[in-house]
């Protein structure tokens, strides 16, 4: 199986879709959640997140809606679409194939003796 070349750059997309697959969130919440779950390994920058979210929305993988939060501020929540779920599934499969391949090389012959 061939590995998608955009795998590494696309992994942020996968993580975002995964978060939204569970529940609807707004941008700040995603950054918090991602950092919490990865034990601060993934410090996603807001400057990266929003362009990505907007691109995904235009590709119909996400939809957004507004909701008034405390003190009348309007928050923009994102929600995954069927299209987005499909994309997530593909990304996950690609990722699995990639990590399996890496493991095979690292754990295979030639790895031990070094």
């Amino acid at each position: 199986m061939t590995i998608d070349k955009s795998l590494l750059t696309g992994s942020t997309t996968m993580l975002i879709l995964k978060l939204l697959d569970e529940t609807d969130m707004y941008g700040y919440q995603m950054i918090e959640e991602l950092s919490k779950r990865s034990n601060n390994a993934f410090e996603l920058k807001a400057g990266t997140l929003y362009p990505l979210l907007h691109t995904l929305e235009r590709k119909n993988m996400l939809i957004s809606y507004e909701e008034t939060a405390d003190n009348a501020r309007v928050r923009k929540y994102y929600s995954i679409t069927t299209n987005g779920r499909k994309h997530l599934k593909e990304k996950k499969e690609g990722w699995k194939a990639y990590t399996t391949a890496i493991d095979d090389v690292l754990g295979g012959a030639g790895f031990g003796p070094a």
Binding site: G27, A46, Y50, P51, E66, R75, Y77
Partner: protein
Amino acid sequence: MDQPSKITEYLEAVRQQIRWKKAQSPVLEEINNHIIDQKNAFVIHGLSEEAAIDRAIAEMGDPIVVGGQLDRAHRPKLIDIGTIILGILLVLGILGTRNSGTDLLRTIFGDQIVLGMVIPRLEELVYLIGASLIVFSLVAIFVPMKISKAVIWCQGFILTAIYLSEVFPRMRFVLLLVVVNVISFLVVYRISRSVKIGLVSTVTSFAGLFLFVVGTQINCYMYNNGVNGSYGGFENVPKALAIIFIMYLVPQLLMAALISEKNSKEQIA
């Protein structure tokens, strides 16, 4: 410099990078919210208000870079521009052929386009398709995203209505009402932000029209009875109601379903 204006300054720098005007304000509002959320979190962690704002802005990254990335995410789609050109070509093509009196389209396509099906009023149809392509694309580019879908639907109904009224002149009356009704639905919906309230105008006007049709038929029945001594007059009611229902209620309900599907998350959350 006081603190809120630091945020404003940052947002302004981002704004300047986003060329598509339509996209600017929703994007900036979102960024603004993010900075405030981030600042509040820093304040909770013990930073002073001023330091928290500085950190929050620093966390966002260089406004020029961020704005540039947002600019790339928000551009009028090429397809919108393409459809405008196609639309203009169709409209011009029809105007040209009609003025010169030669029926270019019939020469190209013939009267029977699909499997021997004759399409009535072919020139008007192609003209309307051209016009609608232009309108839809302009809406997609310039109308705020929140209502652009509803506006496109609305335009679609109106253009379909115009074509149908060309083909079936008798339907014009009902079609005119459809247009008025769709517009009133949208206006009420925009103001009240509630599909249910928006549909109130639809339901009441449908009820009004229903009574109107029944009333005329009762009048007809009484007139026939009194003058001619014969009974009759209700035979057209089912047909009239069916037309009204299809042309009048279905588009509204579709639109309402579309909007409420889009907003369903909002109601659940």
